[in-house]
């Protein structure tokens, strides 16, 4: 029996002993490493044309864009391959002058042929990037008059080309190595990508990490401060925070509700203010607005019934601000000169909401399905949907919260199978061009599938924006579109979400910027 007892004790101490042996900073990252823990890598693809927007988080460090962007989203001649660009008087020819002496990680020179090849690939049939469609429609030809000059010819006059090929939008502007891809094929490139950015690819273990190592010197950031850059996929927040506490990661995305706790422990927390607008919309029927949402008074009632301040405080831990305009991407407001006046904000007024419903003949309420789902960056999704449904219950609407996952909702939405139901999305904030692209898909009748606004007046204005080359006129059109969408209550804008990123205590200052799906790690790695 003594032996049995001994075995028991030894067994139970097994883990404790291992713990003692393992204790200490053995896995802590050295100062040469910058490690970022993210909750999602999206598709995890390494080929820019196969990703959506979210792959930008890591691909932006491996590739250069044709047009650079400042951290606050403005086009920059110092951050991209193009050092300057100009348009022809008719706005149908855009000439980009390329930076000289840029090399890909395999030693090949970066030339206009690479830019042409990359753009053709980005708008090719295989591409699933965010804006391949509009560019495919718009681009007529790509000329390469010199190794350091590329000319993009469009079918229609347009202002959007530089922005669409910049870091501020999706991945279409990333410059890829023509010779390498042609010699090795698309699959080899997707497995072992070669770019020209400050960090080159080392290894990917899907579901775990992407490792990169710095080039000796890069025109974007000088001599990189870190030798290695690793992106770790850590879905569980508690684990990301534990890694931060242990010093195993330097940056981690954290939920709004854990911010106070981390700040108490003196971890710097950086916010991307207004990173997304949380906006709700009505699923259309085959012929557009379903009853009773067709009635403007019903739409206004839905808006007045929601206490946005309370939602911001209770659901989003105060890390959100009330939103006033459906699809209102606020980072574009300064570009187009739109000011949100106090009159535009929705007060919390259930009494008036009830009256509006009664005036619309819906005093007894009506059944309303509210889909509830979580989204990347929105772990509060279901609680949010339940809260809003609760407000609508208060004014007599008979809501039914339907828990689904987002793809299930999206299918119902684009197939128009559940007319009158309500869904939502945390739409990433963006500049005016990105905003235009969103409006073209979600507020422009002819787009159909993703439409959430059905208004001939809005359609007319949106169709003018693309053809317009006078920036002032574009701004006026954009302001008018938003004014119309707001006055007609085309959707329920709820809050602007601020996203939190905690960093290690020794990391230093960082500006995560205001560019969609890009955290600008350049600044952290820069010695400039």
């Amino acid at each position: 029996m003594k032996r049995a007892s001994r075995t028991l004790v030894v067994s139970l101490l097994f883990l404790a002993l291992a713990s003692v042996v393992a204790a200490g900073p053995g896995w802590a990252q050295g100062k040469t490493d910058l490690t970022v823990a993210l909750s999602s890598f999206s598709t995890e693809v390494l080929d820019p044309v196969l990703g959506g927007h979210i792959v930008k988080y890591y691909l932006s460090m491996m590739f250069d864009y044709l047009v650079g962007t400042t951290p606050d989203g403005q086009p920059s001649t110092s951050g991209g391959i193009a050092t300057k660009w100009e348009n022809s008087p008719d706005y149908k020819r855009w000439t980009f002058h390329l930076r000289k002496g840029v090399k890909f990680h395999n030693g090949d020179d970066l030339t206009s042929e690479d830019v042409k090849f990359s753009l053709q690939r980005a708008i090719g049939k295989r591409s699933t990037t965010g804006y391949a469609g509009p560019l495919r429609t718009l681009i007529q030809d790509i000329e390469t008059p010199a190794p350091d000059r590329v000319v993009i010819v469009t079918k229609e006059p347009t202002l959007i080309i530089p922005t669409y090929l910049s870091r501020s939008l999706s991945t279409e502007g990333m410059v890829l190595p023509k010779k390498y891809i042609e010699a090795n094929g698309d699959d080899a490139f997707a497995r072992k990508p070669v770019g020209s950015g400050p960090f080159k690819f080392v290894e990917q273990v899907t579901g775990a990490h992407i490792k990169m190592t710095a080039v000796d010197n890069h025109w974007r950031i000088g001599t990189p401060k870190y030798k290695n850059l690793t992106f770790r996929l850590v879905p569980e927040e508690t684990t990301r925070i534990a890694l931060l506490r242990r010093g195993e990661v330097d940056v981690a995305d954290v939920s709004r509700e854990r911010v106070k706790e981390l700040e108490k422990e003196a971890f710097p927390v950086y916010f991307r203010k207004d990173e997304a607008i949380l906006s709700m919309w009505v699923v259309f029927g085959p012929d557009g607005w379903p009853a009773p949402m067709k009635d403007k008074r019903v739409r206004e009632a839905l808006n007045l019934a929601v206490d946005r301040n309370e939602i911001a405080q209770s659901i989003f831990a105060g890390k959100a601000d009330p939103a006033a305009i459906p699809l209102g991407l606020s980072w574009s407001f300064k570009d187009i000169g739109l000011k949100v006046t106090p009159e535009m904000t929705y007060p919390f007024d259930p009494t008036r909401a009830k009256k509006l419903l009664a005036d619309a003949g819906q005093g007894g309420g009506f059944p309303l399905d509210v889909y509830a789902y979580q989204l990347p960056g929105l772990p509060e999704g279901k609680a949010f949907a339940e809260a809003v449904a609760g407000y609508w219950e208060q004014i007599g609407i008979k809501t039914k919260v339907i828990p689904v996952d987002y793809p299930a909702f999206r299918k119902n939405w684009v197939d128009r199978k559940t007319p009158g139901a309500i869904g939502y999305f945390n739409i990433a904030n963006r500049d005016w061009i990105g905003t235009y692209a969103l409006l073209e898909k979600q507020a422009y009748g002819p787009s159909k599938a993703n439409d959430t606004v059905n208004d001939a007046e809005v359609d007319g204005m949106i169709s003018q924006v693309m053809r317009q080359t006078d920036r002032e006129k574009i701004n006026t059109l954009m302001r008018n579109i938003y004014t119309r969408i707001r006055s007609e209550h085309y959707g329920v804008p709820v809050v602007y979400l601020h996203s939190a990123y905690a960093t290690s205590k020794t990391l230093g200052k960082w500006n995560p910027g205001t560019v969609m799906y890009d955290l600008f790690f350049d600044q952290l790695a820069s010695s400039k």
Binding site: M1, R3, A4, L8, S11, L12, F14, A18, S19, V21, A22, A23, G26, W27, T43, E44, V45, D47, L50, G52, H53, K125, R126, T128, Y131, A132, G133, P134, R191, V205, T206, G207, A208, H209, R232, L233, V234, P235, E236, T238, T239, I241, A242, L243, R245, R246, E248, D405, P407, A408, R410, K411, V414, L438, E440, K441, S447, K448, A449, N450
Partner: protein, 307 residues
């Protein structure tokens, strides 16, 4: 014996064939992967093009036979999400899951054996009651909760052990392995305890004692050997389960295993991945069951003669 093995192999193949049909249908019933792959701004033309490019526009029957034809050659197609051959993903992930399951099973055995034997030998004492408490805790503590608590305190606060990943060597196995193995400890210990109690009460054990064989030898040699048969079956089945159902543990500990791959596949409607993971895990379960059955047949000849 060969006939017995062949019959079991045939059974397993039939099961896998039926499962391939079921998983093929169910995977497609979950929704359209293009809603996740394509951006919100995608047009109907973009959808049609992507569907054609990914081969999702072909009739289901054609897709099924194409899938089965390739699968038997080890080609499970290309992941719709990661755009990599699925077999590569399986090769990356399966060894991680197997290693974690081996470690977890080791933890379970190391805890369950002495506890189970001592609980039986010292029936009704404090040790027995303590073992019962451990058994209850093992089966009632939700794995997710246990994992979070360990990450929060053992790793995050006390900073004793790594919280995530598998690249820190053996120490990175301790927390996920313990979490995964903890649930098995309870079942295995209770099974061993009851099995030991039965064996300790048998005539041949009583005879050994009467003949003056040392108690330690009676318990650990004569009794334990015969009490092991149900435990071997249990451990075999649970090993396969540990490999295939570690989704929660792999997610919390950011462990790049098969469970996470399954979760990623399901949440992104990645049909080729879902199909490959289900068939791989089913094949694994079938193989382990076959091994256990064969082992059982070897240990107890009545089983093979009964077939």
């Amino acid at each position: 014996m060969i006939r017995f093995v062949l019959a079991r192999v045939l059974q397993s193949l039939v099961t896998l064939a039926i499962l391939s049909v079921v998983v093929f249908i169910l995977a497609r019933a979950t929704g359209d992967p293009l809603h996740l792959i394509l951006p919100m701004s995608a047009t109907p033309e973009d959808y049609a093009e992507a569907r054609r490019y990914l081969g999702l526009d072909r009739p289901y029957v054609e897709q099924y036979f194409s899938f089965v034809g390739k699968a038997v050659r080890g080609d499970f197609g290309t992941s719709l999400r990661a755009r990599k051959p699925v077999i590569e993903l399986i090769r990356e992930r399966l060894p991680n899951s197997l290693k974690l399951a081996v470690f977890a099973m080791g933890v379970s055995l190391a805890m369950a054996f002495p506890l189970g034997v001592m609980a039986a030998v010292k029936k009704g004492t404090g040790i027995d009651r303590a073992a019962q408490v451990i058994a209850v805790l093992g089966q009632s503590l939700p794995t997710f909760w246990l994992a979070i608590i360990l990450v929060e305190f053992v790793s995050g606060r006390l900073q004793w052990l790594p919280a995530a990943g598998n690249d820190a060597g053996l120490v990175s196995y301790i927390l996920p392995g313990f979490t995964l193995g903890w649930f098995v400890v309870a079942g295995m210990m209770r099974l061993l305890r009851s099995s030991m109690l039965e064996v300790l009460d048998s005539d041949y054990v009583k005879l050994a004692r009467v003949k003056g064989v040392a108690e330690r030898r009676v318990v650990w040699l004569h009794a334990l050997k015969n009490a092991l048969i149900p435990v071997i079956t249990f451990a075999g089945i649970y090993f396969a389960i540990l490999v295939t159902t570690a989704i929660v543990v792999e997610t919390v500990f950011a462990w790049p295993g098969l469970g996470r791959l399954a979760y990623e596949g399901i949440s992104s409607r990645d049909f080729p991945v879902i199909q490959a993971v289900v068939l791989t895990t089913a094949a694994l379960v079938a193989a382990v069951s076959l091994c256990v059955d064969c082992l059982y047949a070897v240990i107890d000849p009545r089983i093979r003669h009964a077939r």
